[in-house]
């Protein structure tokens, strides 16, 4: 036998073993191929969840598919009961919330859902040993206890009007989750919930697959198989939508344009609370000057940014609240007015120098604006902003960096930030504008401090009277207009393209983070095929 025959034989054997073992790894499933039918749906998203456990933050804004919250949001973002039988009863002092729970609901493993699961979920999230980065959202919660099998009572540290909005948070199964390590255990990848869908597979980096829960308390969904393919690259995602591999996908506006005249596809432009803004730090003598802040607020051409940077998929922002929100203070829209911006600077003593950049008391009107490297959208916003500012005589140096590089500089430098929670104004306004949040993690990055804003935000979060809240948020937004410590630029639409095979599709007002729970498939369990 020659060396060559040995080599050939080895290679053949190896190849055979590899192929056989690969075939043996086959995942369980029903075995039906990709159907062109209306009872399966395959969508492409850009980001994969890090975990599927609600205890570590999965689905905290609702629409988790696998789970239900006590409450849920409808298409108009109003609260409706889910695992609770109705909206909570709130005590007179606003610190006790009582929920009655739905009876006869079971988890997908057949075990009944009870008040113990609710208590377990909330207590585990608040546990110091649980690595849940969003536990601060439950800051108001002091304790939660079960009263019998079907009632839970939440007790708050302080009166907090938007608390009910937090209870869309998914409820985990105590029986299953408590037997595993909450931070790294199998509940992160093989969750058990009460929701309309049951996870059948998750190959990380590739896709998540779900099947309809036949025993769902809300009725068995018409879409029997739901697949979420994870495709990070926009171009690849568009290509796979084009090739028919996907039924729907999130796409950047410029790639979605190609489907505008495609009769087999529908394009959804979801309105969002997802804003981009520039922080203007109080401690920087240039950006802390109210005249400079107001001038920048007028000098920036928001319409032009929407048109050029967002391809029209968005709208100008004048604060964290979108202009079509019912909480938005009408009349605080500011037109682009370069002449007035210049006049404000002139009056405040900022005089143009030889290079066109203004000076005051020997100080140049110049500062640095950071954005996260690799974020093309923020980069484009930053460059457009800097170019508008230059026309008013303010010099902005745009620089890229990682979170770790940028954060220590933000007491002095500006940053192009993004955020947005649609459920309640408090979720955006308080962490961004209240002085108690200054320098706390990534909150209030402008080190913004305005007495009126502070007072009104406190009033608004405590009162449960909608009129009082509306009036307080109005006042806060008008105070922000007078002292714009951030330049709010745009609210960004999220664009989705999907096969035109189902009826009654809608989109919610979406948050900044838009994963599986966003898009037209936020309520895939309710979809009906077209006749």
């Amino acid at each position: 036998m020659t060396a060559r025959t040995v080599r050939t034989a080895t290679a053949t054997a190896t190849a055979a073993v590899v192929l056989l073992s690969a075939a043996a790894c086959s995942a369980p499933g029903d075995g039906d191929g990709p159907g062109g039918g209306t009872d399966t749906l395959t969508v492409g998203v850009a980001q994969e969840p890090e975990t599927l456990s609600p205890l570590l933050g999965y689905g905290k804004e609702g629409n988790s598919k696998i789970f239900d919250g006590l409450l849920a949001h409808d298409a108009k973002m109003h609260l409706k009961p889910a695992l609770a039988t109705g909206l909570p009863k709130v005590s007179e002092d606003g610190r006790t919330y009582t929920f009655d729970l739905r009876k006869g609901v079971t988890f997908s493993d057949g075990k009944p859902f009870t008040a113990k699961d609710v208590v377990y979920t909330y207590e585990t999230i608040l546990d110091k040993k649980t690595n849940n980065a969003s536990k601060g959202e439950l800051d108001a919660l002091d304790s939660v206890r079960a009263e019998g099998e079907h009632r839970v009572v939440f007790h708050l540290k302080y009166p907090y009007a938007p608390f009910a909005e937090r209870t869309v948070l998914p409820i985990a199964s105590q029986a299953v989750a408590s037997k595993t390590d909450v931070n790294t255990g199998s509940y992160n990848t093989r969750p058990v919930g009460t929701g309309p869908y049951i996870l059948t597979g998750w190959r990380k980096g590739e896709k998540l697959t779900f099947k309809a829960n036949p025993h769902y308390w809300g009725g068995k969904p018409k879409i029997k198989r739901f697949t979420v393919a994870v495709i990070e690259d926009d171009d690849v995602r568009a290509t796979r939508l084009r090739s028919g591999d996907l039924d729907g996908a999130i796409l950047p506006p410029n790639l979605a344009k190609a489907y505008k005249n495609d009769s087999g596809k529908r394009t959804f432009s979801a309105k969002t609370a997802d804003y981009r803004a520039v922080t203007l730090p109080t401690d920087n003598p240039v950006t802390g000057d109210k005249a400079v802040r107001r001038a920048l607020d007028l000098a920036v051409d928001r319409e032009a940014i929407v048109k050029s940077v967002l391809n029209g998929a968005g709208k100008p922002a004048y604060g964290p609240l979108p202009t079509d929100s019912r909480w938005f203070a009408k009349g605080t829209e500011r037109p682009h007015d370069l002449a007035r911006a210049k006049k404000i600077l002139d009056d405040a003593g900022w005089k143009p120098g030889k290079d066109g950049i203004r000076h005051k008391d020997g100080r140049r009107a110049s500062f640095t604006l950071w954005y996260f490297s690799g974020d093309k959208l923020r980069q484009d916003h930053a460059l457009a902003y800097a170019s508008d500012a230059k026309k008013a005589g303010i010099d902005i140096k745009v620089q890229a960096g990682s979170r770790e590089v940028i954060r220590p500089k933000l007491k002095h430098d500006a940053m192009l930030m993004g955020n947005g929670f649609p459920a309640d104004p408090d979720f955006d306004l308080y962490p961004t504008l209240h002085s108690s949040q200054i320098g706390d993690g990534w909150n209030n990055l402008a080190y913004y401090h305005d007495k009126t804003v502070d007072e009104q935000l406190d009033t608004a979060r405590r009162s449960r009277d909608e009129k009082v809240r509306k009036a307080a948020y109005d006042k806060a937004q008008r105070a922000l207009e007078k002292n714009p410590g951030y330049t709010f630029l745009t609210h960004i639409d999220h664009v989705y393209v999907i096969d035109d095979k189902w009826q009654g599709l809608t989109t919610q007002v979406e948050p900044h983070d838009h994963g599986i729970g966003a898009g037209p498939w936020w309520n895939v369990q309710d979809w009906q095929p077209k006749k």
Binding site: S26, G136, T184, G205, I231, D233, R240, S243, P431
Partner: protein, 330 residues
């Protein structure tokens, strides 16, 4: 033919295994040092977008919980000692035990790399021999210039081109994933269809090196006295080419197989990302950007082992193929 016995092979393997111990220790130490020196903060990477709204108190608590507050050598020592007892720790980025991450993904990566590599070696050899046979001929000029072009083309670019061509234009092959998006079942046929494009791209990105090496080796061998002697004896051209020229021309290629392993792993990293292939390489990207110490260390160890094993394999094959080489001297 005088082939080396089993004992020198065993001794060579033993020597290499001993040498691997300090190498692996040094490499993992280096990974912990580099990750600690990198500007990425494990806590921020762990928290993801939630970290941008988290309070400082939450972030500090996370830092303690994730055990990333001590100096890096302490973390390395903790990792090493528990790894030696078989506990590879938990991946912070993927929220699951490291052993599970590797177990779920390694098979798919090995399959992809093996298929791509086999394709590169086979096609490289065939085309290389064909090109060397008529140096300066049409085929030679075509494949050589194509090789230089491909050497310059990054694998992800070839990948996108492949998707565009085979998935969008011709609808021949699926554009990514392990199975069709609508199904979970991995069947042999479905797997082959899904494997074809990524393996082809990976193979093509590795092909030029083998092709050019074989072409050079066989071309040189055709000039050697032995080949001239064979021709003078009137042996058939086929025997001369495959029996004599290819035999000695392949020797440098065996070395190349070992040294291409690191490139193969890098190529797989890009190809897996483009094709959403659920392998180990895409986990490496995640582990690196998230400064996920336990996963990063385990994957680096794995890659180091692959490279060392590749070198060993190349040396063994060389010893088998060329009796003039003594394994004792390696």
């Amino acid at each position: 033919m005088n082939r080396p016995g089993i004992r020198p092979v065993g001794r060579l393997v033993g020597r290499r295994l001993l040498a691997a111990v300090p190498v692996l220790a040094a490499v993992t130490f280096g990974v912990f040092a580099v990750a600690a020196a990198s500007p990425f903060d494990p806590v921020q990477q762990y928290a993801g977008s939630a970290g941008l709204t988290a309070s400082q108190e939450t972030l500090d608590q996370l830092r303690r919980n994730l055990h990333v507050d001590g100096p890096f050598w302490e973390r390395w020592w903790d990792w090493l000692t528990s790894a030696l007892t078989g506990d590879l720790g938990d991946s912070t980025a993927l929220r699951q035990p490291v052993a599970q991450v590797i177990g779920e993904r390694l098979g798919w990566s090995v399959l992809l790399c093996a298929a791509g590599f086999a394709l590169a070696v086979l096609a490289g050899t065939v085309l290389g021999v064909a090109a060397a046979r008529r140096k300066g001929g049409l085929l030679d000029r075509a494949v050589t210039s194509l090789s230089y072009t491909l050497e310059a083309a990054p694998p992800f670019w070839i990948g996108l081109l492949g998707i565009w061509l085979f998935a969008v234009q011709f609808h021949l092959l699926p554009a990514g994933g392990l199975t069709d998006s609508g199904t979970d079942t991995v069947t042999a046929g479905g797997l082959l269809r899904h494997l074809a494009l990524p393996a082809l791209v990976l193979g093509i990105s590795q092909l030029p090196w083998f092709l050019l090496y074989v072409r050079q080796g066989v071309g040189d061998a055709l000039e050697e006295d032995a080949v001239r002697g064979a021709r003078a004896r009137g042996l058939a051209e086929r025997t001369v080419l495959l029996g004599h020229a290819l035999r000695s021309g392949l020797l440098p290629v065996l070395t190349l197989i070992g040294s291409r392993i690191p490139e193969l792993i890098t190529g797989a990293l890009l190809v897996e990302t483009v094709f959403s292939w659920p392998g180990i390489a895409s986990a490496t990207v995640e582990a690196a950007t998230a400064t996920d110490f336990p996963l990063l260390a385990a994957l680096t160890t794995l890659a180091t082992v692959a490279v060392l094993a590749g070198n060993l394999l190349a040396d063994l094959l060389y010893g088998l193929a060329d009796p003039r080489v003594a394994l004792e001297e390696m």
